[in-house]
Amino acid sequence: MRITCPYCGPRDRREFTYRGDALALFRPDPGADAQVWDDYLHNRDNRAGRVRDLWYHDCCGTWIVVGRDTVTHEVHGCEAAAEVPR
């Protein structure tokens, strides 16, 4: 599996650390309902197929949203998490 860092280009998966569902980018309001926080912190779609997850490039420190297939390990697209509209 190879992941494309927006700054460094395509690199081996060994250079990256997986940091879970890209849902983490969409943090609820501090005052949001407990159920909203539970969904954010714990509950997951956990889809078999196309997902968007967060990877950290250990070499350059970029957080990347990776479009990936959890069944085939195919990578569809990578973008810097900082560029993702929230």
Partner: protein, 417 residues
Amino acid sequence: MRYSGFKVILEGLRGNTGWAPAWRDPDPKPAYDALIIGGGGHGLATAFYLAKNHGMTNIAVLERGYLGGGNVGRNTTIVRANYGLPGNSEFYSHSLKLWEQMESELNYNVMHSQRGIINLFHSDGARDAAARRGNAMINQGDDAILLDRDGVRKLLPYLDFENHRFPVYGGLYHPRGGTARHDAVAWGYARGADSRGVDLIQNCAVTGIDVEAGRVVGVQTTRGPIRAKKIGMAVAGRTSQVAEMAGFRLPIESLGLQAFGTEGMKPVIDHVITFGAGHFYISQSAKGGLVFGGDLDLYASYAARGNLPTAEHVVEAAVQLMPVIGKARMLRSWGGIMDMSPDGSPIIDRTHIEGLYLNCGWCYGGFKAVPGSGYSFAHLIATDTSHAPAARYRLDRFRTGVGIMDEEATGSQHNLH
């Protein structure tokens, strides 16, 4: 048909013409008292104990593929009760007791071998943690012996004790731990359930769960609709997909875990050994192959196979700990899909849908839990009350933060276990 040594000899003399299939292959009936989704270790054990302990025999197990084709046939076969936290301690202690009576209970040879597990440690801090864990195991009524370096050397003389980076300081020895023939566990429970009247229905994928007014009423399957008022989910890595059919999400992420086997060799490793500095564990199968594994492939995956970086890491740890196996040729590797929960501990609980029961979150430790999980899940389904050893495996602990069982003390958050 009762199996025995005498029967084996008799059939050997009769050209093995007298064996019958170990279970039937029935078509699904339109309705049952209860359904178990998932014909793996946990599902089959649940069906067995529903029939045996609770007299529920008008039930069926629905399996998408073939019986025992999932994680129960894809693990490193380790059986142990060496947990440290209330909740896990009593559950795995109960499960180990069930292991110890499994072969006579099922009249089936599962090759349960209590060869002992040794968890090595490589620092003073790790020794303290091992001593604490050993005391927790003894308090629970199980066995634990803290070995110093010489004690480990007597049992495992072939380790690299002089490793500069990770010298062996000692090990926590759990003599009642060991291994079992993993497929046989599924087959034994399947046969036991079938002989009590449970229908084991293979090639029957659940495609929908029917809920009416907050109550489960049946399932849609590739072999037609089946009605039941009680439905238990025991589908491990596929839990999120089945829950989605009932319209809810769970605190589960599915990750791959690899295991590896070498060619058969003469006996060299008599125990189960875990390396305390890298994530690595190893035993030798009855066929002689070394069976070993390590970390998860640390990202969400349903691929049921591994990626090379983890394989490299595991082999590096293996050769560092025991250079003696450096020339063993790796024969194959395989992967299972782990249902990872945020705190690393499982869930056996009701759901918000009446009659729909949940068994998941076994992370990378589901095999040793098979009998205890089946026993407790059957109790929950039959009586609608939690079985004492599994009473803390509640689904709502993540939402409320009460009763989190974080065995590694890394936090209750995805991707930490």
